[in-house]
Amino acid sequence: MESATISSPPEIGNKTIAILGCPNTGKSTLFNRLTGLRQKVANYPGVTVERHVGKSTLSGITHDIIDLPGTYSMAAESPDERVVIDALEGRFSDDTPDLLLCVVDPLQLRRQLFLILQAAELGIPSILCLNFWDRVERRKASFHLEVLERELGIPCIPVSATSGKGLDQLETAIEAALESPSTINRIRWSPPIQEALEEIEQGAEKVNVLLNRADALRILFDAHPAVAARLDWDEPYYYKLVQDTRNRLHQKAIHPLAAEAVFINKRIDTLLKEVLPDELGLSDPTSKRLDKVFTHPVGGPILFLALIFLVFQSVYSWAGPIMDLIDGAKVWVQDIIEPLFAATPIVQSMVVDGIIEGVGSVLIFLPQILILFFFITVLEDTGYMARAAFLMDKMFSWCGLNGKSFVPLISSYACAIPGIMAARTIEDPKSRLTTIFVAPFMSCSARLPVYVLLIGAFIEPVYGAFWAGVALFGMHIVGLLIAAPVAWFMNKVMLKSKGQPFLMELPSYRFPRLPDIGLRLIAQGARFVREAGTIIFSITIVIWALLYFPRPVALAEQQTQAFITELDQAGTMTAQELAAYLEAPESFPELEQSLQDRIDSAYIEQSVMGRLGKLVQPVFALAGFDWKITVGVLSSFPAREVIISTMGVIYSLGGDVDAESGDLRAVMANQVWPEGTAKAGQRVFNIPVALAIMVFFALCQQCGATVAIMSRELNNRWAFGSFFFMTGVAWLGAILTYQLGMLFI
């Protein structure tokens, strides 16, 4: 090497460093400390496990940092665990990491070394990072770091990621380890296990499958070895090989399923006797005191309900003004943009009613998502969420869910989107799937305007405020009543879940770190806008087009003519007034508005959506819907709250009506079935119809953003499955409601 220019990257450029550790070890804090804002959240290919990657610059060289999902063991049971193995073995696009940063809580070493010693078999250069070191110092525990270093064979660095203490030493150690790597001393397996591993490796070699030691261990020890499915070999051959090897182990009185745990724990036992002699005296006294209160048989649930109530109050009261602000901003932008495209009505309508409306309908969800996620992050980071799950588990276990479903489901009462996103905290994939599937049945706040409109128009005037309140409550319960048996059916029949064990550690309570919460909110928010945004946005454009086209100019002229003729015949205006109006229509804004509404309404009637409404109406005839209600229902599939403004347009009141609008209520009440229909002359809206519409909206998946988020969190099949299933349930529910209503009311 003669002349290396300063700009040329040195030899050790751009390495990949993976952070491995159990949950609650402060991994994310450490990751945030190392990467700061240079991080992003995505999904691992094919699974719904979050992939946190970021960049960190050490001495001028930028390295990739991967924060692996927190997991207790490498036995690949959950998607998280599978991702950890696959990432560590380089099965995703990136290579095997160059350095493994193993994070442990020094006071939980016994349990957490288990994962580290499993990972040792991979032979990846490693560093052990002992986070929460301040706790060791505070308890004045005698922790023999040098023994741990000697026994494990890798550098062991104490840090406190929360305060930042020890991070410099950690960074120095990372750089040193990248230059002169060392690997963790492996377990010395007993001869029978050693032989069994070799048997499996040789058996694999015979069919040209190359196994490393870590894979062989997983195949020998795991009940459902995920790695086996990744390798290309004959199933019966594999089955026999593993079965024979395990039988031989069994004959030597070694249980293959327990052997690994027994061996690793024996090793940890001897190790800890030297490293942390007074281990048992170290349980957290503060956590114990707090748990006396938070898991108290009476006080616990009361505190929990109070807390959840507080959270939702805040979500409602804080998000409301911001949502109004976003809505106001949307209208403001629309007003500014509208005149700019006055020359081309198609572009104008597409930009104003399609694009800006679409963007607005995505952004409007952000405040609720961020506020709810703020609380969820705080509850999780403090360690309270595990207590809540413990308290609530019994109420969910009967239908195959577990205590962790509570927060996602109750969140869905505000909005299913943050609710579904919150379901990520559920480890068991089947429970998570079921929770997400039933979440949209919870009556979200976007359904409220529909209830308010219809109850206000048809139930309150007849039965009074008390029954109006009962109806509103009923609408919020009907989804829950459907969701419970659906969850039960999905778990017991479709997924054949045998009731997954609900094992959960209650971590020590701790103070959350504000930057961690902030970074998580930014990442989640950005992700929602990027991924759900694109889908809901395109659906909105499609619905706009269906409501806009075709648009023959002749129709407007025809409607104007009819309007003037009617004005003339009505005789409410003098001839002079009429002439003045025809001369200068703009000076009669009210007349102009009603003419415009009439034209809009006529356009909708003959638009693709209008025709579709008439075509589909027979499907809803049993529920008592006419074609106008059907158009309202169809066009609110991207976002249910759209129904109010669509109804406004259809009933020629303009799009700017809201749920409290007296005009809309009056017009709806006066609608009659037209000549030539079976119910000619009868009113369209009666109480059974109003109830049927509300039940339809309560049960239907009319939310593009929810479908989008479901497809991201699960997959397209479940997302569309949910869409069609809920639409079907809603349809049946509406028919049942109408028919029963006609019998009894």
Binding site: S73, D222, A261, L280, S287, P501
Partner: protein, 91 residues
């Protein structure tokens, strides 16, 4: 990939005392785990291993799940799982 059947593990003296049978705040030692599926590996990874001391802390207000202390950590476990952990009272 088909599941591979397992046999019982260190669970001879039935009817045995299980973790679910302990009284509040009672300590015991794990004698064995009735192994059925791979999910027991999670139990073992959590530290539920023969020879380990374990303490029943309390049950949830709705009677299930229960809180147990294993080593220096607190774990929530459903009764149905606790019933598969055979324990012996400390002498």
């Amino acid at each position: 990939m088909a599941d591979i059947p397992y046999h019982l593990f260190a669970c001879q003296d039935t009817p045995a005392l299980t973790l679910a049978d302990l009284n509040a705040n009672e300590s015991a030692e794990i004698r064995g785990i009735d192994l059925e599926t791979g999910l027991d590996q999670r139990l073992m990874a959590l530290g539920f291993l023969p020879g380990q001391p374990v303490r029943y802390l309390k049950r949830s207000p709705f009677k299930d799940p229960i809180l147990v202390e294993i080593g220096s950590r607190v774990v929530s476990i459903r009764k149905s799982e606790a019933q598969r952990i055979v324990v012996g009272r400390a002498e």
